[in-house]
């Protein structure tokens, strides 16, 4: 129920393009679908504006604020894919789709499965138009049965396909936890290396805008101790496309985390084919005084704080760790050896989260280089509250980052 709801909400918010609504109409044979679409249309107006900030006429004040921040900090940053080169400009969700489409063209065994990925185009439009182009079998709309269609993806991967399984919302994949853990993670090992699982599991996660606890999960912590799985988080259109392509080509099962609030980030990316390294971190802003390790949406809170910090005379080094498992200990280590101070900023849960693991890895490997104890800013160990102010206090805010750096550099 909730699943359908959010999907419709996002789509309605994203595009009321005539072609899309036409597509849905084609499906009138299914009464349930048309029912939910109708219901969504009337209901979502209220909800989507507040919750999913895709539409271009944001009515939600805070949503608009976020997008502005993200794009602005991006423009400030001296990140790899700079904008002066020729290339093309697109939004993050379009970059994901472009990567997926290119890989599907390149390799006929690449297929997509998930809820509403086909005719509907994906709840966040990452697979829009792909079913028309590649057909219903390659872009398979599945029933709402997460554990089973994820397991089906694993079975397909074992027998020669390269499925990309979309969780309509990452939280729904909790229902597929058994398949992800036992079969995705362990089967290559228990089979003595006989079967490979080249699968990508991806979807929108993280704390959005007042989506309520279940749709605002921080699942990195849940998945990180599964052996045999790699996890990456994208944060820019450039790395979203590059990581998507790399994940599809990898022989290992990869979970690709996308963030609900980043889908509309805009960036100019190269026209030519490229992929990102799944295991490498990304240097966002080189600096001297303190190493700030972050990923996904928190990258933009960090960059916002960085502006303030620079004005206050600090020179922070910002690294988007990107690979949540395994960590790029080379890039991280080099930075620690240079700055001797580490701040971790994440949206993950505090207990048993990525930051906790990162703290342990740094202490284990680079303790001698540290001049101060590592500070880890995580989101609070509470179910993500619905109310705006409570939700805001749950995740790390730029001001906290500034304070933490000041404390570290005392």
């Amino acid at each position: 129920m909730a699943a359908i709801f959010q999907g419709v909400g996002a789509a309605a918010a994203l595009s009321s393009s005539p072609s899309n609504s036409f597509d849905t109409k084609k499906l009138l044979c299914s009464p349930r679908r048309s029912f939910s679409a109708r219901k969504g249309a009337s209901f979502v107006v209220v909800r989507s504006d507040g919750s999913v900030n895709f539409d271009l006429n944001h009515k939600g004040r805070r949503a608009q604020q976020l997008i502005t921040n993200a794009v602005a900090t991006k423009a400030d940053s001296s990140a790899a894919a700079s904008s002066s080169k020729p290339g093309h400009e697109l939004l993050l969700f379009e970059a994901l789709r472009e990567g997926l489409e290119e890989e599907m063209e390149r390799d006929a065994t690449v297929c997509v499965m998930g809820e509403d990925v086909g005719h509907y185009g994906g709840s966040y439009k990452v697979t829009k138009g792909l079913a028309e182009k590649f057909g219903d079998l390659r872009v398979l709309d599945t029933p709402i049965a997460e554990n089973s269609f994820t397991g089906m993806g694993i079975g397909a991967a074992m027998t020669g396909l390269r499925p990309v399984v979309e969780g309509m919302n990452m939280g729904f994949l909790l229902l597929a936890f058994n398949q992800i853990s036992n079969n995705c993670g362990m089967l290559h090992y228990t089979s003595g290396g006989q079967f490979k699982i080249p699968i990508v599991i991806r979807g929108p996660g993280g704390v959005g805008r007042q989506l309520g606890a279940e749709h605002s999960q921080r699942l990195e912590s849940y998945f990180q101790s599964i052996p045999g799985i790699q996890m990456v988080a994208c944060s820019t259109p450039y790395n979203a496309k590059g990581l998507m392509k790399a994940a599809i080509r990898s022989e290992n099962p990869v979970i690709l985390f996308e963030h609900v609030l980043l889908y509309n980030l805009k960036e100019r990316i190269p026209d030519e084919d490229y992929i990102c390294n799944l295991e490498e971190a990304e240097m966002v802003r080189p600096g001297e005084h303190v190493t700030i390790l972050t990923y996904s949406r928190m990258r933009y809170h960090v960059m916002q704080a960085a502006k303030t910090l620079v004005n206050k005379g600090y020179d922070p080094e910002v690294i988007d760790i990107r690979s949540l498992k395994p960590f790029d200990l080379y890039t991280i280590g080099n930075s620690v050896k240079k700055t001797h101070r580490v701040l971790i900023v994440e949206e993950c849960m505090r207990t048993g989260g990525i930051g906790a693991s990162l703290t342990a890895a740094i202490t284990e490997n680079f303790h001698d280089y540290l001049d101060a104890p590592i500070i880890c800013l995580s989101s609070q160990d509470v179910p993500t509250p619905y109310a705006g102010p409570l939700e805001e206090w749950t995740v790390v805010q730029p001001a906290q980052i500034v304070t933490a750096v000041e404390q570290l550099c005392q």
Binding site: S148, G160, G192, F195, I197
Partner: protein, 436 residues
């Protein structure tokens, strides 16, 4: 659309098999409400259950007495039909496979008690007719997905007894290099997609394998890909969501898969009748738009007839089939199960219906094989099993260096170390001594 069509088709008309089961002729649509009482021995010790009157009806759902091989034999004799259900060669293959399954499992029990294998070991004794009846009809390219009770499925699919035994001994020569164990048997060569130890989790994987077959044919245009997948599981699994979810998806997309229920009446200590609102599992097929068949799982020839039809349907692209095989395990759930709940009379009843004895009788009475020929097979299998034990015993235990292999298909998954090199290139990884 097509799903709805086939629902209608099969809801009104049962599976179009002319099976050897007279039941399907007598009462094609079994209606529990119309059966006053049923003294089916298959109710077994669960007959002792005290149920409220409302659920009593469900208890009586087992239709007429199961028909044993011997009945078929009598039928044949009385009609003096020359048409036998199998040729001599086929009969010998079936017999050998069943004897192998039985002898192998008996040896496992011995080896377990002798401390040669550990963990949970679930033996297949009594259910051989199902594995043999189905898997011996498959091609090598066809896939089998099994459960924690997977040794015999592996053997039937062609995995050498040596490799299975060695896996149970935890040796490097095992079919999974000793990394899987009793409940995780795999063979990519023989398309055994596993041994799945948790209830129901293999069914989606099997559905995915069947999806691959369809994908190969329709997307990759491999017109000759007619591979089918068999998913084996028990009565307990039929109350699990993954079972229902996959019946739906398989029927929806007409996938080439056969859901084979080995209904041995007991999920460890939970009687099927205490766990299931409508215990006739095969009836759940038509509810999803696929045929549901009920077959005597103690009779390899009947199982084989049903399997032939179901596999044929799948190969021809006509979609999935649900087959419920009524069978029984002769041992406890696992070797650690004290097996105190099952009624001795129930056990005795099924012991008397031993599928191997029945096939033997059928073959001899129909002059398909002589006693001596079958004895020779028994002897040969004894040697195969002895050899498997010897092989496993003499095989080496895994070296430390094996520990970190196979965690990732691409070992770059272990990441980049502080020195900037991939950690898997570190000698400690090759030695298996690195901390990961």
């Amino acid at each position: 659309m097509s799903a709805a069509f086939s629902t209608a088709k099969f809801a009104t008309q049962p599976f179009p098999l002319n099976t050897t089961s007279p039941r399907s002729h007598d009462k094609p649509l079994f209606d529990p409400l119309k059966i006053p009482t049923c003294s089916s021995p298959f109710l077994g010790s669960t007959g002792k259950l005290r149920l409220s009157s409302s659920s009593k009806l469900n208890l009586h759902r087992r239709s007429g007495a199961v028909v044993a091989v011997s009945d078929v034999v009598k039928e044949k004799k009385s009609k003096s039909t020359p048409n036998l259900l199998i040729t001599k060669e086929e009969g010998l293959v079936l017999y050998e496979d069943m004897v192998l399954g039985r002898a192998f499992e008996d040896m496992c029990a011995q080896m377990y008690y002798r401390g040669k294998m550990f963990g949970f070991v679930h033996l297949y004794n009594g259910q051989e007719a199902v594995s043999t009846g189905f898997i011996k009809l498959l091609k090598k390219e066809d896939s089998v997905v099994s459960t924690y009770r997977d040794h015999v499925h592996a053997l039937s699919k062609g995995v050498p007894a040596r490799e299975v035994m060695s896996e149970l001994f935890g040796k490097t020569t095992g079919c999974c290099r000793g990394q899987g164990g009793s409940m995780h048997m795999f063979s990519s060569e023989h398309n055994l997609l596993g041994g799945f130890a948790f209830i129901g989790e293999g069914i989606p994987v099997a559905t995915g394998a069947a999806f691959s077959s369809k994908y190969r044919r329709e997307v990759l245009k491999q017109a000759d890909c007619d591979h089918v997948t068999l998913a084996f599981f028990g009565d307990g699994t039929c109350n699990n969501g993954q079972f229902f979810e996959c019946l739906n998806m398989a029927a929806l997309w007409k996938l080439p898969i056969i859901f084979v229920v080995e209904n041995n009446l007991w999920a460890i200590g939970m009687s099927h009748l205490r766990a299931t609102s409508d215990p006739q599992i095969y009836k759940k097929g038509p509810a999803f738009g696929m045929p549901g068949i009920h077959v005597d799982g103690m009779d390899v020839l009947k199982v084989r007839e049903v399997a032939k039809e179901a596999i044929g349907r799948a190969r021809r692209g006509e979609g999935p089939t649900l087959v419920e095989c009524e069978t029984y395990r002769f041992r406890g759930h696992s070797l650690a199960d004290p097996d105190e709940l099952r009624d001795p009379a129930e056990k005795a009843h099924y012991a008397a219906r031993d599928p191997i004895t029945a096939l033997k009788k059928y073959m001899i009475e129909n002059s398909l094989a002589s006693e001596a020929e079958l004895k020779a097979i028994d002897k040969k299998i004894d040697e195969v099993v002895e050899d498997a034990v010897e092989f496993a015993d003499e095989s080496p235990l895994p070296q430390r260096s094996q520990l970190l292999e196979n965690v990732f298909a691409d070992p770059k998954g272990f990441g980049i170390g502080p020195d900037g090199r991939y950690r898997c290139e570190d000698p400690k990884f090759t030695e298996g001594t690195a901390h990961v």
